[in-house]
């Protein structure tokens, strides 16, 4: 482990001085507190709350502010030639070290109030996966924006080595606002629409408009006089419209000013964000490959997400968070994703393009169709069983209709997922593709493979249908070639990492 909590080591007086966090972090927190108090007071005044309720608001808020002030007072950090150290904690004191040669990433984030006060949060990652992500990162919340930037330069500067002075920042990609169209090609659009309705409801409730007893019944009365069909269609459209506007806003917030640059030492840096600004630095030596993800809707529009497969971006459990940190591009046209992938990997052609993917045999299709059939049978089984038992004919109809629906949709997805399957080797990379709702194509560095796993169900013994998994230190840790026949899967694995499997392989005469 590179980060530990131990007693203060002796004999370190000669090294760098202990520094405090920027005092403006307390002011920024105070500004949030003031906003909370003003908002609470405004709502209470509007609703005519009694004076003691008004008076009670500042107590917990000021308490939190005091705690923040104490936290600032008790947090110190310093940079020595060998390591960075942080002492912090109000109740539980901790003293953590990260040796500088273990530093793999330095991320800088500034939330809106931080930006008003000119400060930013720095997260130093070690790239170690052991334990929780908290153990693997060291957080300084917050430093002056300038100090944060120079700390990053300082910590990652060693990578630069002999190339000191060549400050040629190479811009690999920038935001193109034509990509905004991909924002609405997302399954989250109706969800965002629903969230907007929920938010509106809460707001009305908060200001005392009594949505339950007054507004909703009135709306209901008004709507029930109208023809139901246009009402349903129009409200669905309105929901989607609101959701689409929300998606566009979110896309703009996330990707405003997006820039992917290669720093002089080879590290990749992504900067982006409108309200909350983020800056993520990936050291090139952590890079193990690239993942292109194409959810169904986005795929229909010809777009894709691009993620780095890199060590130290987080554990498999917090995939969502690490996806956010390992994104190399906003949802963008597939061609652009390929171009940027090639640039990032320093290849002439993106490996997912240059590869000749081997399609999988029909066993994989049959397996998927069988699963879809089973699902339909299960879904239908409950109402049919109940229908027979209770002698209720309508339940039987529900049963067979739902079975047919599940079979039809399931068969479509089965065929689509089967067509997506593929694996191959190109240059330094192995490539695998699978998935229908979200099709993923992963290009993984062959020298980044740190083991193999082969999984097979007992009933696939004769056909040899297996899953071959390459394990790696980066990204999600394991990348699968799904539903491949064992001989072909083994040939692929042996081709990707020559010599490793050979000692365990034997030829079996075909039956």
């Amino acid at each position: 482990m590179s980060t530990r909590e131990v007693a203060e080591p002796a004999g370190t007086e000669t090294e760098g001085a202990w520094l405090r966090l920027d005092p403006r972090v307390v002011r920024a927190f105070g500004a949030w507190c003031a906003l909370v108090i003003v908002a609470a007071a405004a709502v209470m005044w509007w609703r005519g709350a009694p004076w003691w309720l008004h008076a009670s608001v500042p107590v917990p808020v000021l308490g939190a502010l005091g705690y923040e002030r104490l936290r600032w007072h008790r947090t110190h950090y310093r940079l020595t030639p060998e390591r960075i150290e942080v002492r912090t904690g109000v109740l539980v004191r901790s003293h953590r070290f990260v040796s500088r040669e273990r530093v793999r990433s330095v991320d800088i984030t500034a939330e809106p109030m931080h930006r008003v006060f000119g400060i930013a949060t720095v997260r130093v990652g070690t790239g170690h996966r052991a334990g929780s992500p908290d153990d693997a990162t060291l957080t300084l919340d917050a430093l002056a924006a300038g100090d944060a930037a120079s700390l990053r330069e300082e910590l990652l500067g060693r990578v630069r080595g002999g190339e000191e002075g060549t400050h040629a920042y190479d811009t690999l990609a920038r935001i193109d606002w034509r990509w905004l169209r991909f924002a609405v090609l997302s399954a989250s659009v109706p969800l965002l629409g629903g969230a907007a309705v929920g938010g509106l409801y809460n707001l009305l409730d908060l200001v005392g408009a009594q949505p339950d007893t007054v507004l909703i019944p009135r709306l209901w009365d008004w709507l029930s006089t109208a023809d139901p069909l246009p009402v349903v269609v129009l409200s669905a459209l309105a929901l989607l419209l609101v959701g689409a506007i929300g998606s566009l806003g979110l896309y703009a917030e996330m990707w405003w000013g997006f820039r992917l640059v290669r720093e002089p030492g080879g590290a990749l840096r992504v900067t982006r964000g409108l309200v909350v600004t983020r800056s993520v630095t990936l050291e090139e030596e952590r890079l193990r490959g690239v993942e292109l993800a194409e959810p169904l809707l986005l795929r229909g529009g010809g777009g894709a997400y691009t993620y780095a497969v890199a060590t130290g971006t987080g554990t498999a459990e917090e995939e969502a968070g690490s996806a956010d940190r390992s994104a190399l591009l906003p949802p963008a046209p597939l061609g652009e994703a390929h171009r940027v992938t090639a640039e990032v990997l320093r290849e002439e052609v993106c490996p997912t393009v240059s590869v000749r993917l081997v399609p999988h045999t029909r066993h994989a299709l049959v397996r998927r169709l069988r699963l879809a059939f089973l699902m339909g049978a299960l879904v239908a089984g409950v109402p049919v069983g109940l229908g027979v038992w209770l002698a209720e004919v309508p339940l039987l109809h529900v049963g067979w209709v739902s079975a047919l629906a599940v079979w039809a949709v399931g068969a479509l997805f089965a065929v689509n997922a089967f067509r997506a399957l593929g694996h191959g080797i190109t240059g330094r990379y192995l490539v695998t593709r699978h998935g229908s709702l979200k099709r993923r194509t992963i290009a993984l560095r062959r020298d980044g493979v740190i083991g193999w796993k082969v999984t097979r169900w007992a009933w696939h013994r004769r056909s040899g249908l297996s899953r071959v998994t390459a394990t790696t230190a980066g990204g999600r840790g394991a990348y699968h070639v799904k539903d491949v026949l064992l001989p072909e899967g083994l040939r692929f694995a042996e081709g990707a990492t020559p010599g490793l499997l050979r000692q365990f392989l034997v030829r079996r005469p075909a039956e």
Partner: protein, 170 residues
């Protein structure tokens, strides 16, 4: 559905050379019994106490108990036939599972830690599990059901070999 068999010789994984301890059968059986018996016991007890719900409670006990009993009989023997392991000059190679079988290969140069783990049941049977972790989040390579002293020697040996290789195994 029938598929044409390929005509050429096909590649397969050979079984790793070593079986695990025979005592593991007892250990796996005890594990299965330990999982199945408590809920069945509670359900039967409730069935005895609660007269009106008796058929339903006995039915649930049967739904849990019968497959559980079958598992407790079949699984350990099946596992004993599948579970095998081997270490070579440059890799650890294991086979494990029963209905779902898993082969794993971890090159020695990528190993981060080697430990033994012994649960209370395993101690009772004088067994130990050797876990070999790599930098991957896909989980450790485990060799279940080794004799305890033997497992300790194996860990010592593997630790010596892996310490000799340089780098941070990522």
């Amino acid at each position: 559905m029938a598929f044409p068999r390929p005509t050429a010789d096909e590649l397969v994984l050979r079984p790793p050379s070593n079986r695990v301890e025979r005592r593991s059968i007892g250990w796996w059986a005890a594990q299965a019994v330990g999982v199945v018996v408590p809920p069945v016991f509670v359900l039967v007890l409730l069935a005895l106490l609660i007269e009106p719900a008796r058929p339903w409670l006995l039915l649930s006990a049967a739904i849990v108990g019968v497959p559980g009993a079958v598992t407790a009989v079949v699984m350990p023997v099946w596992r004993y036939r599948v579970h095998r392991w081997e270490t070579t000059g440059d890799a650890v190679y294991t086979r494990a599972g029963w209905v779902r079988q898993e082969w794993r290969i971890a090159p020695l140069s990528r190993i981060q830690t080697v430990d033994t783990v012994r649960g209370p049941l395993q101690q009772l049977f004088g067994l130990a599990t050797v876990t070999v972790t790599t930098a991957s989040a896909a989980g450790a390579v485990r060799i279940d059901g080794l004799e305890h002293g033997f497992a300790r020697d194996l860990v010592d040996e593997l630790t010596k070999v892996t310490q000799a290789t340089a780098g941070d195994a990522t």
